[in-house]
């Protein structure tokens, strides 16, 4: 048995849709468990009062990254079959900045807005509507944006490949960076709480 299971043909496309639903349920479940149905909690990240976003995101990345690495190293997973989104550096940088601004204005990201809407928050639903509008605007403007959208392609490239460093070294670097960020986050939260007199 080898992973990724779908790429080895263990089941067909129809069944993969069923699995998509199940995986999505798990995704939404843990997002809500963390409290990401609340725009206030999400936005608090950017005022240093509640660093849950950073903690959850980086813990998730660590978990998956370590899992993928070790499963590949022992030969269970065929890493070359795993999808890697091609990098288009400048559009992704600009898109990221725009997304960040949208995040702090709206209080959600696409995934968390689903969770928020599902738990009854009207602002989450309005945010969802906003996403659709934003995509529509992008689509209509696409003929003008297409050049920029496809600029600075770097192909499918990972950090180890870019920096010329072994994969495992980057894994360690990410772990250390994340744990360092967690320590800083805990410290920051305490300071903000003390300052607020909470």
């Amino acid at each position: 048995m080898s992973a990724p299971f779908y790429k080895f043909g263990y089941f067909n496309d129809e069944f993969s849709l069923v699995l998509a639903l199940v995986i999505g349920i798990g995704f939404g479940f843990f997002l809500e468990r963390a409290g990401f149905g609340s725009g206030r909690k999400l936005a608090a990240q950017f005022y240093f009062t509640d660093m849950t976003v950073l903690k959850v995101m980086f813990t998730a990345i660590l978990t998956a990254m370590l899992g993928i690495y070790y499963l590949s190293v022992v030969g269970f997973m065929e890493l070359s079959l795993v999808f890697l989104n091609p990098t288009y550096l400048v559009p992704q940088i600009v898109g990221g900045l725009v997304l960040g601004v949208g995040f702090v204005i709206g209080g959600y990201c696409p995934g968390t807005s689903c969770v928020s809407a599902a738990t009854g928050k009207i602002d989450g639903m309005v945010f969802l509507a906003g996403i659709l509008a934003g995509i529509f605007v992008f689509g209509e403007l696409f003929p003008l944006l297409e050049g920029f959208y496809n600029s600075t392609p770097m192909g499918q490239i990972t950090l180890p490949k870019l920096l010329g460093v072994p994969y495992g070294v980057i894994v360690l670097a990410v772990v250390l960076m994340a744990v360092g960020a967690f320590v800083a986050a805990e410290w920051g939260e305490k300071k903000m709480a003390a300052r607020k007199g909470v």
């Binding site: 080895f8 043909g9 190293v73 890493l79 994969y167 495992g168 250390l176 744990v179």
Partner: protein, 219 residues
């Protein structure tokens, strides 16, 4: 200060576990596994012995005539040979580009080359990489020429064989070949002109819709 796992909070334990795993990762090796592959020798021996993965020229001809598009036909020769003649519906794939060609592990793939050596080698390569639906055209293009394109009726054929041969003649015509007469196959082979493929293969566009429909994997 003595180190006690039990005295650590949950968060500290998680952090420690992550750091240890990260540190080990530096020495654990390359997750891409290089270019090595794993094969089950016994399993392969059984498959090779039973010849379940052979496809005869006649069968392949029938599939093409029936318009079946549930398989991919791969030509492993070079571009020049491909341009001169290739079996309809075939895609040119050089050996080096085989693994990058976007083949699915659960689709039916038929390989052919001039004789059968390259297709056999490619078969082994794909099998080792986990492709489950790989078949070899038995006898390669050589047999395709003899059996499909230029069938020959033996002079001492029985009436039964002659009747069967009628069908072969029709198949040959379908593919632009012709029935051969006489007893000098070598001489004939030199003069034989390969049928020109006038129109593009009837289902040239279909393989992309059927098997390799662009499955978006973005987000």
């Amino acid at each position: 200060m003595p180190f006690r796992w039990s005295s650590l909070s949950l968060n500290r334990r998680l952090a420690l576990l992550a750091i240890v795993l990260g540190a080990v990762a530096v020495f654990a090796g390359d997750p891409y596994g290089g270019t090595s592959t794993r094969v089950s020798a016994k399993e392969l021996a059984v498959i090779v012995g039973s010849e379940v993965d052979h496809v005869s020229s006649g069968e392949l001809a029938d599939w093409i005539i029936q318009g079946r598009v549930d398989f991919r036909l791969l030509d492993l020769r070079n571009e020049e040979a491909f341009r001169e003649y290739h079996i309809p519906q075939a895609e040119l794939v050089p050996m080096e580009g085989l693994l990058d060609h976007g083949l699915q592990r659960n689709e039916k793939i038929v390989l052919y080359s001039d004789g059968g050596i390259h297709s056999a080698q490619a078969w082994f390569l794909l099998k080792a990489k986990g492709y489950n639906g790989v078949y070899i055209l038995r006898g390669g293009l050589e047999e395709w020429k003899d059996a499909v394109l230029f069938p020959r009726l033996a002079p001492n054929a029985t009436p039964q064989e002659a009747a069967q041969f009628e069908r072969k003649a029709q198949v040959a015509k379908f593919f632009g070949g012709s029935v051969q007469t006489g007893n000098a196959p070598e001489a004939t082979a030199q003069k034989v002109e390969m049928p020109k493929l006038a129109a593009p293969a009837p289902s040239a566009a279909v393989p992309s819709a059927g098997g390799t429909k662009k499955k978006k994997e973005g987000c």
